[in-house]
């Protein structure tokens, strides 16, 4: 503010209004131009914005915009979907780059139910030979991606994307060996809490 340097009263040309209230007097200075310009500019913006979105419907609505963006994302995902099969997941599970990336995802997301040791708590044990929704690599991949909502397994595909899911699956598979027996279990019975 410029008045910082100003310790003298303002010029006498500033006319005071005749009346005073409990000793308070008032000047009647003009409104600053920049202030008026700000006021008018925001009003003009309102008119233009309202015309653009609400009268002429030139811009998309919120929902139309997000639907369009989501369609683009879905297309990109479909195009980038890795062609996975059991063999390639097994191969990834022996590759330290994939396994390390998978461990990071597992420990921030999955470990809260399956524990960092993968031995299970709220969610089932992932290092034994018992599987509820199938123990073949692509079955595990499907379980993580789509979830099993009735059993409380969230669908992680939309949140993590195919790359992170395949890494996490590779990390789980790194605790197993190709060809080991798979037994089907009906439901997981968690250990009693510590």
């Amino acid at each position: 503010m410029t008045p910082m340097r100003e310790s003298n009263p303002p010029p006498e040309t500033d006319k005071l209004r005749p009346h005073s209230f409990d000793g308070i007097q008032e000047y009647d200075k003009r409104l600053p131009n920049w202030w008026l310009v700000t006021l008018y500019a925001t009003i003009i913006f309102w008119v233009g914005y309202w015309f653009y979105y609400e009268r002429a419907h030139l811009g998309p609505s919120n929902t139309a915009a997000v639907e369009q963006q989501l369609a683009v994302i879905e297309a990109a995902r479909l195009a980038a979907a890795p062609s996975l099969d059991d063999a390639s997941l097994w191969k990834m599970s022996r590759n330290p780059v994939f396994v390390d990336a998978g461990r990071a995802t597992f420990e921030t997301i999955c470990a809260s139910c399956h524990t960092k040791e993968l031995t299970g708590a709220i969610g089932p044990n992932l290092v034994d030979r018992l599987w509820i929704h199938g123990g073949r690599p692509m079955e595990i991949y499907a379980t993580v991606t789509n979830g099993v909502l009735v059993k409380g397994m969230p669908s992680w595909g939309p949140v993590l994307g195919p790359k992170k899911v395949s890494e996490a699956v590779a990390y789980i598979l790194s605790h197993h060996h190709e060809g080991e027996p798979i037994e089907v279990q009906a439901a997981w019975v968690p250990p009693p809490p510590k």
């Binding site: 503010m1 100003e6 008032e26 000047y27 309102w46 921030t108 409380g152």
Partner: protein, 774 residues
């Protein structure tokens, strides 16, 4: 008084300064309490252990205590002290009634005490800044009426014919707060301590933020602007910069403010036209707000050198500067794209505190330091301490605000960061973002602590000043004059005045253009343009006459008050009435909520009791990062039966709109018992009492009766049927928990809460209906 003294009977008036002293001391005390609770809740966000696993000490119950204490107890008492002190002097009359003044004071303190008891007990309406239960709401309205009667009665007895600008702001405050408070608190009681709001879902959201935003406007801003217009020129001993700026910014402020409420609901399921109104009117609010700042700062012309020595002026100058800063930040945050990043984050908390700590707190401090010597006829104990208060407080605010900006922007960016061509979130785990901002939360605690320390210095200064001081009441000698010829503006002349007519026409035509269908809209546009041209053309010849009309208006309080009411009522009517009148079914897009079972409803009331909505939203916005993280965006119909709505305003934890069915029951049990056993690094409190307390289902029949009355499609259930349904559902959940190793009796509160959480996001598709409104 500059007018010549007329011969007449001389009388001496003694002002009622006793009531000012009472409100002033209440301000000092409640300020300390409210800020202390603020520091406590800030500490709880850093150290979850400070929730002590005690129901009445948890964040969710103390946070409403903090907000209600600082808004209604601290700023409320400060406002009453300032209004009563200045009004008596501006109208040269003692407050109309000592009885009403005392009733006002003690009634208000009683309300505060009632709030301080009920909120920690979990008795709440579940709407922000409108948490107090219905019997207290009625008390608030009654005491506000006492305030209004006392104020307007004093105006009626005034010896000063014209109303000074401070009084305009007081009038706007009294009228508007009454309107907002009553509408947002319309409820139907289910018991002495509990009620459901009459509005639900989107209607409730709209009414809530029409109220919430304008509580900021008309409780924290307009009365304090009025106080600024009295105390700042008094302390600076300088004339107010510009009368015409006062006129323009007063009317534009009170008119525009009301429309801006929907900016709290941008990118949500709120209909788009309301969002666009909220955003554009928020931008138009920028200049009117800065009008107040300019009139404050420029009044200091010629007095800036006094800032070096006078703590009062330091506080006022800084307060007005913070006011300018936060009223620039407000419109910025109301821009949809900025809001997409900042909403639900700490940036909003920083914005609010720049206003409350900077503007409200510093105006209060300046006013208190200025009033103390005048009300107790003794110099301030220590000017040095007051200066120290100023510097500690300023550093505190700056630390606080900078920490919250950094935290909010960091978290906002992390939450919306995507990778792999925008298809995947970089930080899918919400906790990663929370852990990143933890140092900023600590910085905020330090800033808030410093601010509280400054206030404690004020308390000490007040105590030392008061020691041995004798209260003194202001007096003035007046001459009872023969009544002057009545040149006041009557009601008819008010309505027929060109400024009124032009304003009404412009608002009417503007609304037709905005919301009308083709022909109405075109007519509205033509009318608005005609108004603009006519107004512009007439100003050179009629401007002086219109100024005279306004000066006559200032002589008559009733037409002035009515005009103010018209100005504030317009925005609310145009936004709320269409939304409320539209049939519920037409508010529904493609999905409609499945009503809660009795057990789920009981769980929902527990969710509200524990204040979960203060950290968890239930609104997935129409934004890609929200959809990627939480699932499909929320539809209007999905909260259509929610009395009150729980869309939330802050995400200290993740959104819960689609939480239902995401995790097994056992996950919720373990998580409520000890969140860190599931989510390492969580700052959520433990809720062990939910596992220990039995659910009080006996209130359910009364609650469901009220829900039916409000239009929620419950069948005619007998009490026994309700209890049977509760039993059956609870038994199922307990059985499922047992199978998973969780042993909880089926009558515990946690069972109901789990039932509710598992219901979140459950809806059924409905055939699409044509929307009835733009």
């Amino acid at each position: 008084m500059s007018s010549p003294i007329m011969p007449g009977q001389k009388t001496t008036i003694e002002y009622n300064d006793r009531i000012v002293r009472m409100f002033l001391l209440a301000t000092v005390i409640w300020g300390a309490v409210g800020m202390l609770v603020g520091v406590i809740v800030a500490a709880q966000l850093n150290f979850w252990q400070l929730n002590f696993s005690q129901a009445f000490l948890t964040f969710g119950r103390l946070r409403p205590l903090h907000t209600n204490a600082v808004i209604f107890a601290f700023v409320g008492n400060m406002m009453f002290a300032g209004v009563y002190y200045s009004t008596q002097r501006l109208v040269k009359a003692r407050l109309a009634s000592d009885f009403l003044s005392n009733l006002h004071f003690w009634g208000w303190q009683l309300i505060i005490v009632a709030a301080a008891i009920t909120l920690p007990l979990g008795l709440t309406r579940g709407k922000e800044y409108a948490e107090l239960i219905w019997p207290i709401n009625i008390a608030v309205v009654l005491i506000w009426v006492v305030f209004a009667v006392n104020f307007f009665w004093t105006l009626a007895r005034r010896r000063e014919p014209a109303l000074y600008v401070a009084l305009w702001f007081y009038i706007a405050t009294i009228v508007t707060v009454a309107m907002l408070y009553i509408v947002n608190h319309l409820s139907i009681p289910t018991s002495l301590l509990h009620s459901y709001p009459v509005f639900s879902g989107v209607q409730d959201a709209l009414v809530q933020w029409w109220y919430g935003h304008n509580a900021v406007a008309f409780f924290l801003t307009t009365p304090i602007l009025g106080i600024m217009y009295y105390f700042l020129p008094k302390a600076a001993e300088r004339p107010v910069y510009s009368y015409r700026l006062s006129v323009v910014h007063f009317w534009s402020l009170v008119f525009v403010y009301i429309w801006a409420g929907p900016h709290h609901l941008l990118n949500t399921a709120l209909p788009g036209w309301l969002q666009n109104l909220g955003m554009t009117f928020s931008l138009m609010l920028w200049a009117p707000s800065w009008g107040g700042m300019l009139n404050g700062l420029l009044t200091l012309r010629g007095a800036w050198h006094k800032l070096r020595t006078d703590p009062v002026l330091k506080f006022f100058a800084a307060a007005v500067t913070f006011y300018g800063m936060s009223t620039f930040e407000g419109p910025l945050l109301a821009i949809k794209s900025v809001n997409a990043l900042a909403h639900y984050t700490d940036w909003i908390i920083g914005h609010v505190h720049a206003g409350t700590l900077g503007w409200n707190g510093f105006m209060a401090a300046g006013m208190i330091y200025w009033l103390l010597p005048r009300l107790w006829n003794k110099p301030l104990h220590s000017t040095g301490l007051a200066n120290l208060h100023f510097w500690i407080g300023t550093v505190g605010i700056l630390l606080y605000v900078a920490a919250m900006w950094t935290s909010g922007i960091t978290q906002g960016l992390m939450l919306s960061a995507t990778t792999e061509h925008g298809t995947v979130l970089v930080y899918p785990n919400f906790l990663d973002t929370l852990i990143t901002i933890r140092p900023m939360l600590l910085m905020r605690l330090i800033g808030g602590g410093l601010y509280l320390t400054g206030w404690i210095l004020l308390v000490y200064n007040v105590v030392r000043t008061l020691r041995g001081a004798l209260p003194v009441n202001g007096t003035i000698e007046v001459y009872d004059e023969a009544p002057a010829p009545d040149s006041r503006l009557g009601l008819g002349a008010m309505f027929a005045g060109a400024p009124t007519v032009f304003s009404l026409l412009a608002v009417g035509f503007g609304t037709m253009w905005m919301l009308g269908t083709d022909l109405v809209s075109t007519l509205g546009l033509a009318g608005a343009v005609a108004c603009l041209i006519a107004g512009y053309a007439l100003i050179p010849s009629r401007g002086r006459k219109w100024a005279g009309w306004y000066e006559k208006l200032l002589l008559n309080a009733l037409p002035f008050t009515l005009l103010t009411f018209f100005a504030v009522v317009a925005g609310g009517l145009i936004q709320i009435i269409p939304t409320v009148l539209v049939q519920r079914a037409q508010n529904v897009e493609d999905r409609i909520q499945v009503p809660y079972t009795p057990l789920e409803l009981a769980g929902r009331d527990l969710y509200i009791r524990e204040g979960c909505y203060l950290c968890h939203s239930q609104m997935i916005r129409t934004l890609v990062p929200d959809v990627l993280r939480y699932g499909d965006y929320s539809r209007l119909g999905e909260s259509i039966y929610d009395h009150p709505f729980q869309w939330g305003s802050k995400r200290s934890g993740p959104d819960l709109a689609r939480e239902g069915g995401k995790y097994p029951n056992i996950w919720h049990l373990r998580h409520m018992e000890d969140p860190r056993s599931i989510s390492a690094g969580s700052i959520m409190p433990n809720y062990p009492w939910l596992l220990a307390h039995p659910l009080d289902a006996s209130t359910l029949p009364a609650k469901i009766k009220v829900q039916r009355l409000l239009g929620v499609p419950y069948g005619p259930l007998s009490a026994q049927q309700i209890f049977d349904q509760v039993d059956e559902q609870a038994k199922g959940i307990a059985r499922d928990l047992r199978a998973a190793g969780g042993y909880v009796a089926q009558d515990r509160e946690i069972i109901a809460l789990i039932a509710y959480l598992q219901k979140l996001g459950k809806s059924v598709p409905v055939p699409p209906k044509a929307a009835a409104l733009p």
